[in-house]
Symmetry: D2
Subunit: 259 residues, 4 copies
């Protein structure tokens, strides 16, 4: 059967990326408390394609991923990308996996337990000159507006917001759980799936006592990430689903070097 | 050229609906202030199909809609569905058009003007026995929790919420704008795209003074719709993007008869 | 602490549904091959609310679900809704859980294995008069147009489509896997995450030999479901992401009695 | 009333971007045929924030945009960003507007007219050192697989795909319509909302005669954009909603300099 993809291409246009996108697959990742967590992944895998080849072999990306879907640790992610390079005879490989990750949380007053979902992501890039692995996490939080509190005689507008942090991994391993705790500690309050009445009172008063703008949130996370000191580069974004508007308030910081 | 669709089908399965879905088209609707508003529609059009026909003629739905896309008033919608019945030789026709609609709003203290978007929808059904036209509107609002306010020494959690109302049209014409105002008057506060500092103070204090559960919101809208008295049937749903949770609080009421 | 929700409400408006929506939680469901499958759920839980109560107790829905999230079988779903009725002192309870479900598939020529994701859902309703449990599955398929094939001298347009089936459960247990196989057998071809070149040839030729309209698809699924004979009521929808249009072709059948 | 935002911030963290996101607003853009087109925009506006200010003034972004929403031409976009810099006393401003844009298309055989929607975007960045304006367009197309055609005895899998092109504007004005035509000419076929039977035959046979991989598509668009020669930098992405898989095939090229 003819291998159309391997035939010569005369257009002299090299492709930066070619591959598969939005592959939905069961995955298993590490869990600080339970050792592993089974979850559902959304996967992109790409390689570069030299100008002289007409096409790539899409099925090989899936074959490699299928071998690794039950052990997607931070460590093994770049090995998987190395395999992609090998089987596709490519110089560069890129991977991106997004997944919901669940952490058990304890309500602040009643102590009742429930799970909260965090959207997480692993991504990587390997080439002869460069090996990069990034971890991303989106943390839903509560933010209470310092301006609204200051200028109003009673109350203060507050809302659900999302903090998105992406870090470049350096030499040190870390747990998603610890990154989440760092981020939640910078908000007016963390969120909980289950809150009894005494917890609702606690969260309401605590958030009133800890007002933050999106600007404060990204700065406080930045200061804490720099104190932690293990990430050569990171990006922090905060987005408030403003309770007084139908749009979002947004702030972003980028720190470090990623060359 | 053979007309495959018109050939005989032996399976003896009549289709309830067949047609086109998620057609994206420019549309023009009526506007209380500016006479007309140009916006962007997402359209579904269906007819029934008797068991003896193999298929429908999909292009005819588009031909009919194309004739009407510049004058999609409440009145003309059912005429359009009548045309669908005629050109497709069908007993029943169904239509659904969703569109963003913009209303200029004045900030409560500064008086500054800005537009707010409302997701709206027209839908209809015509058959030999039945003619129904429904209007739907989704209104983003602010809600402040009565329980949180009552049990807390300071502050109260509040959030953006959405009220979705669907009404069966009776004999009387009405404006989308008036339905929106009715709904906003039942929330802790309406939303605004543009608020200056004095407006933010106003909205914060006003919402603190007007706490509502989702339960209150759907009930208050229900009472006002019944007082208006022009809709034979309606449905009211409210959904809060809780600032203390990562999920929504929800309530729904259905009233009247739609047979 | 005051229980605001339990106070008397004078508006005389009973709520059809009140509760929590879009709760994201890890869940475990039954799996025909592997006994259980761990996946990620999106959950709605509602109860009715008599007119004299001001509000419901939202946290109790979560407490009940938390007890059941690791054993969400078809059988236990209605028991969970019974608990919702009890803890909320409500007459009616409603539940809805949507989740991705993975089935290992074997490529038709090479025999290589990969997983394919199916969006599934359980939903139920219990009241003093009524107990209903529904299973929904969305199956991505390939459809090749009979008209295009018939009128063209070469080729035929084909596309990815989705078949959505919702069944009312009767006396007999069944596996999601068997419902999926039934549906895929009615399409021009099933889909696969991993296809080698010999598989691509097989699927291309097989689909060319088995053209179906959306109309054919819903009818063939209907005939096979009626032959199976275990569902008192069902609904079949098919939707093609037409390769020649930017909109979808749609067909729907409803059969049986659900009173 | 206190201006909390203008107070001193001691954390020494400058913000890269702060502002408003997902603002929904009616907009008017230029149209090659009809002079102007009224459509619906989704808008982000950001500025940088020096480390010594606690917060930005979010309402000013909306005030500036409101002045410009009825004349969002490519030329005026950067002037709007200049105003953002002025009113916020910022060095840098960023803007992003996404909108559906409709173009009338003529069916290839019957000559019948209908509208097709294209997702478009304007984005810009102004700073003391840099002025950049980008135009993005997403074109839905039909692609027929060369490999499937080559190896199969009959038929070939084809599907709807999307080509996304983003260009950096240079000295020369251009029309969205011309960029769309260039892109559609590289696909197996363009799409149409309305096709009669003779058109369907035409599109089926034409696409069979013009098979393209995603790799071919991005290369052909690249060659034509380079021939056009007016863009200092551009990016081309193609994504196929594969009819034989439940995931997408993807390819990307980047060309030129954007420093």
């Amino acid at each position: 059967m003819q291998d159309v993809q391997s035939s010569f291409d005369p257009r002299n246009v090299a492709l930066k990326k070619v591959g598969v996108k939005n592959v939905r697959y069961p995955i298993t990742v590490l869990d600080k408390i339970n050792k592993v967590q089974h979850t559902t992944g959304l996967i992109d895998l790409f390689a570069n394609l030299p100008h002289h080849f007409k096409g790539t072999h899409m099925s090989r990306f899936i074959e490699v991923f299928h071998q690794h879907h039950r052990s997607l640790s931070m460590k093994q992610f770049l090995s998987m990308l190395d395999e992609v390079r090998t089987v596709l005879d490519a110089e560069e490989a890129y991977g991106n996996v997004r997944f919901p990750y669940y952490i058990a949380k304890t309500a602040p007053a009643s102590g009742q337990e429930s799970y909260l979902e965090y959207q997480c992501g692993f991504s990587g890039h390997v080439s002869p000159l460069r090996r990069r692995f990034y971890v991303a996490v989106e943390v839903p939080v509560m933010t209470l507006c310092p301006c609204s509190r200051e200028i109003s005689e009673r109350g203060a507008h507050n809302q659900r917001g999302h903090v998105r942090v992406k870090v470049l991994m350096g030499q040190d391993f870390f747990w998603l759980e610890d990154l989440v705790i760092l981020i939640e500690s910078c908000a007016s309050s963390g969120l909980y799936t289950l809150l009894k009445r005494e917890d609702e009172k606690f969260v309401t008063e605590y958030s009133y006592d800890h007002p933050v703008f999106v600007e404060d949130l990204v700065r406080d996370v930045t200061v804490k990430l720099e104190d932690w000191g293990i990430f050569p580069w990171f990006e922090v974004q905060a987005e408030n689903m403003e309770s007084i508007h139908n749009h979002e308030a947004y702030a972003a910081v980028e720190r470090g070097v990623d060359q």
